[in-house]
């Protein structure tokens, strides 16, 4: 393999070519959502961006203000490309120029992620840097969610990576600034805020009082200034309550329309199963009369037939409890090298136990984990776990793409990634040939094939159009098992002695 910087550029360019080639593929409603936001931010004054009725569209602005400003900046270019794009009345406007423009904004903004990965890999060999770029830039999950379905996760995950590694390399002010910026662009990253919080708590505890106070004041000042810059103008216009209600809508159900493969999917499946089985064995008194309604409904309305109710507060408590081992660990030993693991673990806890989680949130675990693994120096259990989690995580994203045209594309994006990544990780010594994955994991991953064959082909042949939720439920439940398992393996390392994990002191 060539040992010059060209390799990194070559890998990135090829991943870029595939992204550009995906421009004409299926777009979800998220495309129109973002176009609408371009229109709102371009046509209306910022005081009206969050008002109801800012546009006739059903899609309202529900990301924090900095993302709105990002869309505003994009809309300035967009207006030059195709003025129709930024017209609030052009619902569903999809001219060729619009599609190319919006797709290119996703592709270009993803450069933040590549930059973040390279920054994280500072000081490693060129081959490892190229590996890191490959693992994030060619990640099939990102292709599916960002470049086909349409979202801006690449850029945001890049900011997350940057904030993690700014902190890891000792640049705490910059780390806080970046992370707060990230939160002000998409508040879902609150999922990993406890990791940062615990890390800095541990750090402040460790440092002598004087340094501690200085650090605290610096970080608080930085965070508050970012918040002030993002929310200030809107507070001035009295829009704060409106923004809060948009960011945290309370009327949603425990699970999304397609069950994210998390713990609640298993819980719901168990509930459904019990609601069918129990009457047959004469225990119908445990089954409540109302039919299970999990995806919508108001707070307080019972939605499970057999098992106890789950409120958002319950999920919050459970999530925090799940995170506890890792948080305690990093408070006690705030070594910079462990921040990324804690972030990965916390994001997985939030994914598994959170309220109304989207399946796309698995990327928040997978991408930082990819960088973590690329950076690992020796045969690491995490590398094998990463390949396992990425495979099942990406598979769980397949139902996002429903058209036949994208079917083979998504399959081969995943297969190509595995074909290239696994031997590469082995060559770098990160993934050892024997200790990488257990037999059980391999069998489970092989199990994806019959599941997929049934869901995409078998079910239609046997049942035609009846019970369309069964394949989706099957994929969700099967993936959930694997993801819960991965979480278990990660969690075990916190409860045990954790000797195999690196403790790098970088200051």
């Amino acid at each position: 393999m060539a040992e010059n910087n060209g390799l990194i550029v070559g890998v990135y360019l090829i991943s870029l070519v595939v992204k550009v080639l995906l421009i004409p593929t299926y777009r979800s409603t998220d495309f129109e959502v973002h176009r609408n936001w371009l229109a709102i931010t371009h046509s209306k004054p910022y005081g009206e961006w969050y008002s109801d009725g800012a546009s006739a569209s059903e899609w309202t602005l529900d990301y924090p203000p900095l993302f709105a400003w990002f869309e505003w900046a994009l809309s300035q270019c967009g207006a030059l490309v195709d003025p129709g794009m930024v017209n609030v009345d052009n619902l569903g406007y999809e001219s060729d120029a619009t599609v190319v423009f919006q797709r290119l904004t996703v592709i270009i903004s993803e450069a933040v992620l590549v930059f973040g990965a390279l920054f994280a890999m500072h000081g490693t060999s060129i081959s490892k840097k190229a590996l890191a770029v490959f693992l994030v830039a060619a990640h099939p999950g990102l292709y599916i969610v960002d470049h086909i379905h349409f979202q801006y996760n690449g850029m945001l995950l890049g900011l997350l990576a940057l904030s993690i590694y700014f902190a890891t390399y000792g640049n705490d002010a910059l780390a806080t600034a970046t992370f707060t910026t990230l939160l002000c662009m998409k508040h879902i990253y609150l999922y990993v805020a406890p990791a940062f919080g615990a890390y800095y708590l541990g750090l402040l505890w460790d440092l002598p009082l004087g340094q501690s106070v200085t650090l605290f004041i610096t970080l608080a000042a930085v965070a508050l200034s970012v918040l002030a810059v993002s929310f200030g103008p809107f507070i001035g216009k009295g829009m704060l309550p409106q923004i809060i209600s948009r960011l945290f809508p309370i009327q949603r159900g425990l699970v999304h329309a397609y069950w994210a493969p998390n713990f609640w999917a298993l819980y719901a499946a168990l509930d459904k199963g019990l609601s069918i089985v129990l009457p047959r064995i004469g225990m119908e008194r445990f089954v409540s009369g109302t039919k299970a309604n999990l995806t919508g409904g108001l707070v307080g309305m019972s939605s499970f037939s057999v098992l106890p109710e789950v409120t958002s507060s319950t999920t919050f408590i459970i999530t925090v409890c799940a995170m506890m081992p890792a948080l305690i660990h990093i408070i006690r030993r705030p070594y910079p090298g462990t921040l990324v693991e804690t972030v990965v673990y916390c994001s997985l806890c939030s994914f598994l136990f959170g309220y109304h989680v989207h399946e796309k949130a698995i990327l928040m675990t997978l991408i930082p984990m990819a960088i973590m693994v690329a950076k690992a120096r020796h045969g690491d259990r995490m590398a094998g776990l990463y390949m396992f989690l990425t495979t099942i995580g990406t598979y769980s994203l397949f139902p996002l793409l429903t058209e036949p045209q994208e079917y083979l594309i998504k399959v081969f994006l995943l297969l190509t990634y595995l074909i290239i990544a696994v031997p590469w990780l082995m060559r770098e010594g990160v993934l050892s040939r024997t200790a990488g994955h257990s037999r059980l994991e391999k069998i489970y991953l092989m199990g994806i094939v019959p599941i997929e064959l049934y869901c995409s082909f078998g079910h239609g042949m046997v049942f035609k159009d009846r019970w369309p939720f069964i394949p989706l439920m099957l994929i969700s439940v099967y993936s959930a098992i694997g993801i819960v398992y991965a979480w278990g393996v990660m969690g075990m390392s916190y409860i045990g002695t954790g000797q195999h994990r690196e403790k790098i002191k970088i200051k």
């Binding site: 595939v18 080639l21 594309i409 190509t416 031997p423």
Partner: protein, 493 residues
């Protein structure tokens, strides 16, 4: 031993990665537009291929090339040799699994549907998987150094120009090119009979492959003549001849029943009533007709003769060198030089024919044999710009340019652009010091120029002419360098 094991493991990893990447690129290109999309009454090459599937599936073999009520030759009549027709039948069976209505006799004209498009795209990918990719794997295995082997595999399997024509515009060039690559593999590994059989199949799939025929013929002739005794020479020649004849007979069995049928098929494959060139192509006649209007002063028959003579003159030196001292190294050089000569001087050359000389050029891109630069991929792509613009494939076009550019980052071994190359002969010096930077700047300037020109004039022929002239200049240079390199190698043998 351990090093060998490691190397074979690396080779397996890289080749499987390259093939997987090739598949991903093909699948993604398939989502783009194709030739003649939504463009009645004639549509384009996509509709032509669909129509051939319709004809071959529904009509008897003897009617495939005949003008009947059910087979109007005026509407995309079959004009490729029989093997193409058989392949259309196979592809048609495959496509009908996706959408039965796309190949219904007479009623499916202009049929455009998401499911039939998927079927058509996948049929091209299947053809690549069965023919083109295995051939590339075989040929690349003859290169000793691992990094060069992988580089050639990458350039062949993920060849931007072939990808965008086959999987964008829509054609089945992968089959003809794949069979030829397979033939080259066989000939280079001394399996001459198998090689000639495969090449005959390539000829019977697409007559454009005839551009390679003189080089193949001359190389095999040279091999025959190297045999020691006269009897040895004669037997070898006879065996090769027999293989060729038998291959042709097998392909043409249904059509050699009557003289009339044979003549009709040949008339369809070699239509002489077309002109000197169609649209814009980067060859001598098209570019020089900007200055001297050949078509105005010379009649058809004379034009054809003129082209034949020019082509022969341009390719003769290379052919003579090859027949006197045939060798593995000079064989591919000869293929490149003669196919370039044919492209530049033949009668009725399409811009898609650039894929033919591009194939040996792609094989010769790796450092120790370097005769053509990676930028040849970009230039060939550029010469097809007007065609791709018509097909609404410009997004894919630019992506393919970036793909070609990315290859040079993997080709940086010994003999790289960083100056560590062995500048031992004029060809190399010309190539590195002058050629490559010039080429990159050239492509960029040509496109910038076109964009600016489009602001001032709507007459597209102007920008197309500039592109063709630039492409022509490059190809002439390439022919020059290739000939010099072949001469040097010939002397050394």
């Amino acid at each position: 031993m351990k090093a060998m094991l490691q190397e074979s493991r690396t080779a397996r990893w890289l080749s499987s990665g390259i093939v997987a990447l090739g598949l991903v690129l093909r699948l993604c290109l398939g989502t783009h537009s194709y030739s003649g999309k939504g463009n009645p009454p004639m549509y384009g090459d996509y509709e032509a291929q669909r129509h051939w599937m319709e004809v071959t599936l529904n009509l008897k073999v003897k009617d495939w090339y005949m003008n009947t009520t059910e087979n109007d030759l005026g509407y995309w009549g079959i004009d490729y040799p029989p093997l193409s027709a058989y392949q259309s039948w196979l592809s048609g069976k495959f496509v009908s699994l996706f959408d039965q209505r796309s190949v219904v006799l007479l009623d499916s004209r202009g049929y455009e549907n998401a499911s039939s498009k998927l079927g058509m795209r996948l049929s091209v990918i299947a053809a690549d998987l069965l023919v083109y990719i295995p051939a590339c794997l075989a040929l690349s295995s003859t290169i000793p150094l691992l990094s060069e082997r992988m580089f050639v595999l990458l350039v062949l399997v993920c060849n931007p120009a072939v990808l965008i024509i086959d999987h964008g515009h829509f054609q089945y060039n992968g089959i003809g090119l794949g069979l030829t690559i397979g033939a080259i593999f066989c000939i280079v590994t001394r399996r001459y009979l198998m090689g000639s059989a495969l090449f005959c199949c390539a000829l019977n799939h697409k007559q454009m492959t005839l551009y390679f025929a003189p080089a193949v013929f001359v190389h095999l002739l040279g091999i025959c003549l190297k045999e020691k005794k006269i009897l040895g020479k004669a037997t070898m020649l006879a065996r090769l001849g027999a293989v060729v004849v038998v291959s042709f007979i097998i392909c043409w069995i249904p059509f050699i029943g009557s003289m009339e049928m044979l003549q009709q098929v040949i008339k369809r494959i070699f239509p002489l009533q077309r002109g000197l060139f169609e649209d814009y192509v980067a060859n001598f006649w098209c570019v020089s007709s900007l200055i001297f209007k050949w078509k105005k002063y010379i009649t058809g028959a004379h034009l054809a003769k003129m082209c034949a003579i020019a082509t022969m003159v341009a390719s003769l030196p290379s052919l003579i060198m090859e027949v006197t001292k045939p060798s593995r190294e000079t064989f591919i050089l000869c293929l490149m030089n003669t196919s370039l000569a044919f492209f530049l001087f033949s009668y009725q050359v399409h811009e898609k024919s650039i894929l033919i000389p591009l194939m040996p050029m792609s094989i010769l891109m790796y450092p120790s044999r370097r005769t053509s630069s990676v930028y040849a991929l970009n230039i060939s792509l550029m010469t097809m710009y007007p065609l791709l613009k018509k097909d609404d494939l410009l997004g894919a076009y630019w992506a393919m340019h970036v793909l070609a550019l990315s290859f040079q980052y993997f080709g940086n071994q010994e003999g790289s652009f960083s100056g560590k190359c062995k500048l031992t002969n004029i060809g190399s010096i010309l190539e590195f010091a002058v050629f490559s930077p010039l080429v990159l700047v050239g492509i960029f300037s040509v496109h910038v120029f076109c964009v600016i020109a489009q602001l001032y004039t709507t007459k597209e022929y102007f920008t197309d002419a500039v592109i063709m002239a630039a492409g022509f200049g490059f190809l002439v240079l390439q022919l020059l360098i290739g000939s010099i390199r072949q001469y040097i190698q010939w002397k050394a043998n």
